[in-house]
Amino acid sequence: MEIPYTVTARKDTGLFNSKVGIWLFLASEVMLFGGLFSGYIFLRIYADYPWPERTLPVLPGLINTFVLIGSSVTVVFAWAALKMRQWRRFQVFMGITIACAAIFMVLKGIEYTAKWGHQAVRMDDYAIVEGHTHKAELDDHGHFHVIHGKKYPDHAFPANRIVFETNEIQIDLTRFYAPYMKELIEQAEERGSKILLADTIAGKRNPKADEKTVAMAGEELAVGFLKDARELFLDARAHNAGVRTDELRRLWRVAKKNNPGEPAYLLASSVQVDDAALAPRLVPATGTVKFNVQPPMPFVFKRSWIRESEESARLKDDTILRGKLQECPLVMGVDAIDFRYMAQKAEAAGKEPMSVIANSWLLQKPEYKELWKQHLESVEKLEQKLIDSHGWKDEARGIANRVPTDTERYRIGWKDLVEYKTGERPSMVQGFAGPSHKKEEFAKAFPELEIPNEKISLQSKFTPKWNTYYAIYFTLTGLHGLHVIGGAIVLAYYLFFSKGLYLRNPEWLANRVEVGGLFWHFVDLVWIFLFPILYLM
């Protein structure tokens, strides 16, 4: 079948059809991104924490802007080449366009990786530290040790885990999550402990069925028999519920027969199932099984898996551990100290931010006290510099025309740390995608900090969990990145699989490339807004 209006224009619209199509699509895209930008504005206006303005490393975003603008030019040249029937020229320009898309995604990947590897901790007094978690291990006695050095043993783990000395584990049969069970089994194996079933799991699916033994007491934890036990439990529970429902129905029939015309809400209190009488018809059904850990041993869990207290802990799948919470501080190399949130909270409470900060837990440590002193000196210098260049607004009352921002006042960034240590500020290129802990000269400027478990109120990598800024950052740039990938695939199809169409009907291919190019320009257009909004504001 001939597809109409691929080359010639339709009379009523004056356009070939696919152009109307792409503009309809772009109109819907404008609305989609409009909604997301609206979300950004809303989150920013109503943020109840200091918005991290101008904190992303600018260089990757800047290069990506150049790359996308360049690709917008080349895609229009590729289309022009087709219009002039120059296949070779088309190939070159389209090739550059797709290469630009690849560069864009690689840079995006570098940026994302840096975020996902960067640790942030908010303490219970709203002081925030950022950095890289160090590695730790448990010694033979189960005590937590930080490993210093370049080489890590296999059993090393990031020093932001919860260590829980466990002697008893209770597993919820309907909710247990197999990967957690496997983790328990593996860790026990590694430390030479055994997780042994406390009581034999046996029972009947219903009173008439045969007694079935699923596992004997003393058997080692395995996912296989947990699944069998779950099946047995669910069958028994279903049987019991059925019996109860039948009994309730019978009681209602009797009650209605004995009290004709009486409304149900008056009868309800008299219709009661006699549990004792029902008991013989039921089968025992227990939804949890207990295991003993012999000998008791410390398990190491990701913080997102576990809610811990002193003597018990609960994994996300309702597995309950009993024992004792071990000393397991979060240990990191600190590359930024941020008191903005603390200052905001202090102001809200009517306190003097600087004195609240000076009394914070972190600044009781001599090393950090010294850093803060250095920082205050540098803020003072900046203040003086601004007064020298822009003068006073009201000298008598000490109000200057220009004053340092909250970020400059309350945040010690990684470049500040390096500057305080070495006297030299890293350049834009050196901090390409963020602070590098691999470079010796930087790493020595980043002090180690041990944060006790109870001081941590939120810890996260720089992901949507950390705050709404990163949530909207990943949503916007992620969706934009998907558009780049999608656009590149379509353009690559024109480049690699359209020679036949070019020879048959070059104008049709030119129109296709124009339509693909329109989408590509739109992707560029979105980035033109994303770059200043996310990186510079």
Binding site: L15, V20, G34, R54, I69, H521, L525
Partner: protein
Amino acid sequence: MADSPEAVKKAQKLYLLIGAILFVFTVVTLLVATVPALDVGRHGFDLADMTIGLLIASLKAGLVAAIFMHLSNEKRTIYVLISLGIVFGLAMILLIWFAYADPIEFKGFYDIGNLK
């Protein structure tokens, strides 16, 4: 729109020029945001910086739309389609104003005093 091969050939110079302008504007955006001497308004990021940043971005977006996407020379149908998109897109952004319908913060829409 430049549709004949000759017209397309001519238009290429314009495309290059626009590309160059976009590059320059990007650099200007960066400098205004990062170089202290070019900081407008108060020290650091503020409303003036935001206005300048968004104005430049809008200008760049306008150039891309007008020249690269040929909107400067397009049929009426397309204008209708895209303005619909923009109107509804703006409506999405203006939805934020509904936040002010919170009766505790904003008494304009919903005055408890009038309720008997």
